[in-house]
């Protein structure tokens, strides 16, 4: 499968996530769009790791080149899980204070 297809797919998912962050104002949906962007980057890393492996395996059949990309995806998932737990706690705290998850209420730093 040509690498451009995977690049195009993950860039489309990333841009959908960006449009979501820019246009929605529900904090939970903004957070979900951030997760979508993280996942598109993960898909891109896996595809590039397999591309690198395909060019390395042509010379050495037993090489494990390219596995680092998949390990980075593993670490990104670890960090994303930690980020989600803290972020959802922040959203719950925000809901408790302003009784809404609309991000337009969070403008106290502006003035």
């Amino acid at each position: 499968m040509p690498i451009q297809y995977y690049l195009g797919l993950s860039m489309m998912l990333f841009c959908i996530g960006i449009v979501g962050v820019l246009t929605r104002r529900n904090a939970i949906i903004i957070f979900m769009c951030v997760e979508l962007m993280l996942n598109s980057v993960n898909l891109l890393l896996v595809a590039l790791s397999k591309m690198h492996h395909a060019s390395a395996v042509a010379t050495d059949a037993l090489t494990t080149k390219g596995a680092e990309g998949q390990l980075f995806v593993f670490f990104i998932m670890v960090v994303a899980a930690a980020e989600v737990s803290v972020g959802l706690a922040i959203i719950v705290m925000m809901y408790r204070n302003v009784h809404s998850v609309d991000v337009n209420f969070l403008n106290r730093l502006k003035n």
Binding site: M11, F74, V78, M93
Partner: protein, 167 residues
């Protein structure tokens, strides 16, 4: 078209359509369900690329744990109704134009990049994505980042409890 290509296009269409439905649907619960479908499609891509470990981890961690956490928070805050007010049409249009022009910029950069010409990702074969190989590399070369990530988890857990505690 070969079966691999059919599976690729099917998964891509499912991923893109459900990612768009995350944006379009007004109800947050529907957004979470569409996002779970997106994660399933991305997991299918991992399986097509023979990254079996990441396939399982993506299903368990993302589609299982994280999205259930989102659903719990939505249910706890009683947000499962359409509370988001309609807002400025121009702001939506501006967001869509911004995202579209970023996509156009990225695509044009990739199309003109010489490094990517004629390269292909290996599908359905290659054993670097199996847990045997990844585990060996993880515990031989990446032990310290692995241990540091456990400290990160501990601090995130403490942080979530401290932030979420009522005082």
């Amino acid at each position: 078209m070969s079966p691999t290509q059919i599976v690729f296009w099917l998964l891509s269409v499912v991923a893109l359509v459900s990612a768009l439905m995350v944006l379009i649907s007004r109800n947050p619960v529907n957004s979470v369900l569409w996002l779970i479908l997106t994660f399933f499609a991305i997991s299918g891509h991992y399986l097509l690329l023979n990254a079996q470990f990441l396939f399982v981890v993506n299903l368990i961690v993302y589609a299982g744990a994280i999205m259930v956490l989102f659903l719990f928070v939505i249910m706890l805050m009683n947000l499962n109704k359409e509370t988001e007010p309609q807002k400025n049409k121009w702001l939506k249009l501006t967001g869509a134009i911004t995202g579209g022009s970023l996509l156009w910029l990225l695509v044009s950069i990739v199309r003109s990049a010489g490094d990517m010409q004629g390269k292909a990702a290996m599908v359905k074969e290659g054993n670097i994505g199996l847990i045997d190989n990844l585990g060996k590399i993880l515990f031989n070369e990446y032990v310290i980042p692995f241990e540091i990530s456990s400290v990160l988890f501990l601090s995130a857990m403490v942080g979530a409890v401290v932030i979420g505690k009522k005082d």
